[in-house]
Structures are given as structure tokens and as C-alpha cells.
């Protein structure tokens, strides 16, 4: 187990390094003079030169990369061009919003995705199964910016049930605050919910065909017990994998959702950082997101051992 975790941490290091190098390279080849975008219009060449010096833009690519990596080792993510503050402070502000939004989305995915999947597997070809199949197809096919806009139109503009966009302002109570989360979290969860429903359905159908389900029935257990104890525990293994991996994605890839709902999370920050060529900001955000995603994947792998006793982490498979 410990060996497994250490090996994974070592792999994480390589992944993070690779991502930082790749993003740095991409940023370097994006056209546009960063210094000119930063400086006020009509600044002299001298001012531009100062800006370049400050952010090492006058240095060659690899020197810049080296400086950046050295700073990262000192846990210094640098200063943002646009905010004139340390990138850390901005991440500290925005990351909690993204994590909270992702958590609410994950709850929606777990409840509706698994429920829909299990129901349609248990009563296969029934009305509910057909309904789930059709609605998941539709949901998967709808882009998030479109669902988001539709929801704003219906539930905010016309019905006025939820606030149109934004995060709950300070001092909002729990329920009032939750109403700000409903629409963005639902939009963020939509595609994954559909996917989880399909995954849970096919996984449950597969499990229900297994011999041990027949054994459970032959023991005289009720259908409910067979389905929700013997089948579900096995059927959920692939679903949990997906949910775990997806959680990292929900935090990091909520850019569209956060833009549409004006949510002050990292996706929102990332978008503007890219638009404004805020290199340190982009690198800092991506760096933190990569670490989160890799860490969550590690947790998912560890959780296997608890779900499936056949998996013993870091040991060679037992010969039976």
C-alpha cells in the first residue's frame, strides 16, 4: 500500500512537470506581445522593456522555464500580470468556489445518475428504462452553454426561481445560498449524470447475469436484497471509478459553466488569464488543477481496494 502510494506520487511528479512544460510551451507560441498588452496604450519602448524584464520575457524560453520551475519548488507561483497580486492569493480565493460547485454537481450526479441507471436496469425495457435512455441521449448531446442559457431563460428570467448567475454574496443563509448553486451545478452535472446513468445501467445488467446473482436468488433472498446488496455493490465499481475521475474534471473543466453563470471559480479565472496572456496565472492555475486531479485519481485507486477485495494495491496478483 505505502509502496503503491509512493510510486503514484513519483508518477505525479512526472505528470505535473510534463504539464507545466507543455503549457509554458503553448503560452510561448501564442502570438501577441505580452508586454504591449500589459502596458498602457502608447507606452514607450523603455516601459515595455521594463515589463519584459520583470516577467523574464526577455529571456529565452528554457531559461524562463527553469526560473519558473525553481520558483515552483519554493512554492512560489509568481505574480499575476492582471491582478498585480500573487497567483496563490487568487487561487485561494477562487478554488473553494470551484470545489463547492463541483461537490454540489457530484451530489446531483450520484443521486440522479445512479438512481436512473439502476431503475432502468432493474425494470429493463419498461417505460422508465425507455425514458432514461432517451433523456440521457438528449442530455449528452446538448452542449453545456446551451443548457445553461436555457436554464437561465426558464428558471431565472421567466419563473424567477433561482438567481440568474453569480455566487451567493457574503451573509447569505444556507438555503438562500444553495439557490445560487442549483443552476450552475445542474448544468455542470448534466452530461456526467447522463453518462453515469448509462454506465450504471449497463454495469448492473452485466452483473445481474452473473452466476452469483443466481446463487443469491437460490438462497431465497428477496429481489430487493439481491439487487441492492449483491448486484449493486459489484455494479457500482466502474461507476465509482468514473465519478472519482470526473470530480477532478468538474473542478478543472468548469470553464464554460463558470463563464455562463459568472461563477467566481478557477475556470472563470483561467478563461480571463488565457485571454489576457497572463502567463503566470495560467501556469499557476493549471499547476494546482493538475495536482488536484492526480490526487483525486490516487484516492480513487485506493478506494478500489475497499470496494473490490480482489484488488490489493501494490502487490503482485495472487496465484490461485
Amino acid at each position: 500500500m505505502l509502496v503503491f502510494v509512493l510510486r503514484r506520487l513519483y508518477q505525479t511528479l512526472i505528470v505535473v512537470l510534463g504539464v507545466v512544460v507543455l503549457i509554458s510551451f503553448l503560452l510561448a507560441i501564442i502570438p501577441g506581445d505580452v508586454a504591449r498588452m500589459r502596458a498602457p496604450k502608447g507606452s514607450s519602448e523603455e516601459v515595455l522593456e521594463n515589463i519584459r524584464k520583470k516577467f523574464y520575457l526577455d529571456k529565452p524560453f528554457f531559461t524562463r522555464l527553469g526560473i519558473y520551475l525553481r520558483n515552483i519548488l519554493k512554492l512560489d507561483l509568481g505574480e499575476s500580470f492582471t491582478y498585480k497580486r500573487s497567483v496563490w492569493s487568487i487561487i485561494k480565493e477562487s478554488l473553494p468556489w470551484s470545489v463547492k460547485l463541483a461537490l454540489v454537481a457530484e451530489v446531483i450526479i450520484i443521486i440522479f445518475g445512479i438512481l436512473a441507471g439502476v431503475i432502468s436496469a432493474v425494470s429493463r425495457y419498461s417505460f422508465w428504462d425507455v425514458l432514461v435512455t432517451i433523456s440521457t441521449s438528449v442530455l449528452v448531446a446538448m452542449p453545456i452553454y446551451w443548457i445553461g442559457r436555457l436554464m437561465q431563460l426558464f428558471f431565472a428570467q421567466w419563473l424567477g426561481w433561482f438567481p440568474n448567475s453569480g455566487a451567493p454574496p457574503p451573509g447569505t443563509g444556507f438555503w438562500g445560498g444553495l439557490s445560487y448553486y442549483i443552476m450552475p451545478a445542474t448544468a455542470l452535472a448534466a452530461v456526467s449524470t447522463a453518462y453515469v446513468a448509462r454506465l450504471a445501467r449497463s454495469s448492473m445488467l452485466e452483473v445481474m447475469r452473473q452466476d452469483y446473482i443466481q446463487t443469491a436468488r437460490a438462497k431465497g433472498l428477496s429481489n430487493r436484497r439481491v439487487t441492492y446488496k449483491h448486484a449493486l455493490r459489484n455494479g457500482l465499481i466502474p461507476v465509482v471509478t468514473y465519478l472519482g475521475i470526473d470530480f477532478g474534471v468538474l473542478i478543472g473543466a468548469a470553464v464554460l459553466t463558470e463563464m455562463i453563470f459568472n461563477w467566481p471559480g478557477v475556470g472563470h479565472k483561467l478563461y480571463f488569464a488565457v485571454i489576457q496572456r497572463d502567463h503566470t496565472m495560467v501556469l499557476g492555475l493549471v499547476f494546482v488543477l493538475v495536482i488536484i486531479v492526480v490526487f483525486i485519481n490516487l484516492l480513487v485507486d485506493i478506494s478500489y481496494a475497499f470496494l473490490d477485495p480482489r484488488i490489493r494495491l501494490g502487490e503482485s496478483p495472487e496465484v490461485t
Binding site: 446463487t215 436468488r217 437460490a218 449483491h230 459489484n234 477485495p309
Partner: protein, 336 residues
Amino acid sequence: MANKGETLLEVKGLKTYFHTQEGVVKAVDGVSFSIARGEALAVVGESGCGKTVTALSVMNLIPDPPGRIEEGEIIFEGRNLLEMNDREIRQVRGNHIGMIFQDPMTSLNPVFTIGSQISEAVRVHLGLSRGDARQRAIELLRMVEIPQAERRYKMYPHEFSGGMRQRAMIAMALSCEPKLLIADEPSTALDVTIQAQIMELIGRLREEIGLAVMLITHDLGVVAGVAETVLVMYAGKVVEYADIDRVYYNSRHPYAWSLMRSVPRLDEKKDRLLTIGGSPPSLINLPPGCSFSPRCPFAEEVCRREEPPLREAEPGHLSACHFAADFEQHGQGVKA
């Protein structure tokens, strides 16, 4: 035939069909037999002859759709299982009738411990507390000769070998002291030495707890040591039904006769093993007349025209062959 003790299970005219896209598969087509208390009946036949479907029908575990029990009665201790509702049949399953399956590698749930799977049935049927059920499960593991039962209780199926898993399955099937054990090819997936151990175990438990056994197998060698009565099935029908000695030494049906002849024997010197030519017929399109006639070395005109009924060839010996009464002479004649 069962005329020894009190009848425990009686199956009358059982028909279990599967409704598939290609047509209706008559997996079990009019099967009748009975098992007395403490008796062991072997159901013998090739793969796909309806043995397993017969067993699953008794447990009312036929997957529906596509399968359905169309006709017949399954009377267990005086009550027709087919007329029971869901709750009633569940009280019979696992409680009064235990069942073990062919492949012990896949028949245990991989994510629960052996112990919890055994004690689950006891808790559901006998209402034992967690601790009592645990105690009972450990006793059961000892009964099926699993060493270090306490330690094994906490292990998962993947930590057991095939033979051990089948022992655990037997422990599970017997956990509520059923009166009947249905064993569906319990030793087929195991090594030969383990096979013998498992069959020995079943034989010993039979004597100890007076268990009736319905043993499903295609291995005639297995039958000899355990069963008293043999039911030979072919293409969903019973073709011969008699005491084991009669089927072995005085078979009245060419299929059963060929089956016995195709078992390698140490006490007879033969160059080649006798095999049955051809393959079992499709259960959707059965040939007219006797369904064994296309493969039967003794088939005559009448066999291809008329289906032979199952009738007594001699007292207590049922056979579905036109020439059952004088099969031996008939068979010898053709062979010579």
C-alpha cells in the same frame, strides 16, 4: 424408481419453454419424476438436454423472459411450488431446498466474505442474530471439512481454491438444513481428485443429515457412487428412468445404453471407446418421431414416424423406446 420412502418432491408433466426470436425452445418437455426423503436421484444427459432447466424450474428460478414454465406441477412436501407467490417460494428456496452450481469460481459473490455469504441465508430464513449466524457458519465450514474455519470465515472467495469454494457453496446450500439438495454438476469444473472429494462429501452429508439429493451430471462415473435412481434425459424428455443397477447393467433405451457404453472401463479390454455419432438435435426443430432416431444405431421405420411414449419396460423401469421390452435382443441382433 421411487417407491421406498415418503415422497418429498414430485414433478409432474413439467414443461419449461424459452421463447426466443428463432422460435420456442422446448428445453423441458413433459418431464415427470419423484424423489423420496433421503433418496438420491441422478439426472443424466448430454449438455443442452434440459437437466439444468429442470433443476432451475424446481427452484422457480427460470429467467422470465425468455423462459416460462408452461405446464406441470412441482409438488414439494405436498404443496405445489408453481402455485406459490413470491414470498412463499422464497421461504422454500435456500431454506427447504438448497442448490449448488456448476462453477464454484463464479457462483460466489466476489465482494463479500465467505462467512457473510453463508450466514446471510441463516439470518434471512432462521432469523438468527449476527453472532449466532456467525457461529453457525463456522460450524458449517467445519462440517464441509474446511480447515481453520474461523480464519476462513473472514476470507473472500478469491482467496479460496476451486474445491474449497465448492465446499463453501455446499455449506451455504445446507445452512438452513434443507430436505433436498439440488447439485447442478457440482464437480464438473473441478480437478478429478477434488471431484471425488466433493462427491464423497455429498455422500457423507446425505447419510449424516438424511438429505435427499437431486444430482445433475453428465458424468456417469460420478453417478455410480452417489445415486440410487437415474433419470436419463434427451432433448428435453425423459428417455429412461430406473434404479441405477438397471440403467447400468440392463438399459432399455438405446441412448442410455450408448451412454453407458461410452464410459471408459478398466475391466473391459476394448481398442476404441464407443461414441454416439452426431449431435443432439435443435430443441426448436425436433425431428418427427423419436428425437433420438437420427443418431440411434437401431432405429427402424416406426422410430422416425411415431414418438415412443415413456412406459414400463419391466416393473419399475421406464423407457421411451419402441423396442424397450425386448431392447436387449433387438440391440444384440443389430450389433451382431
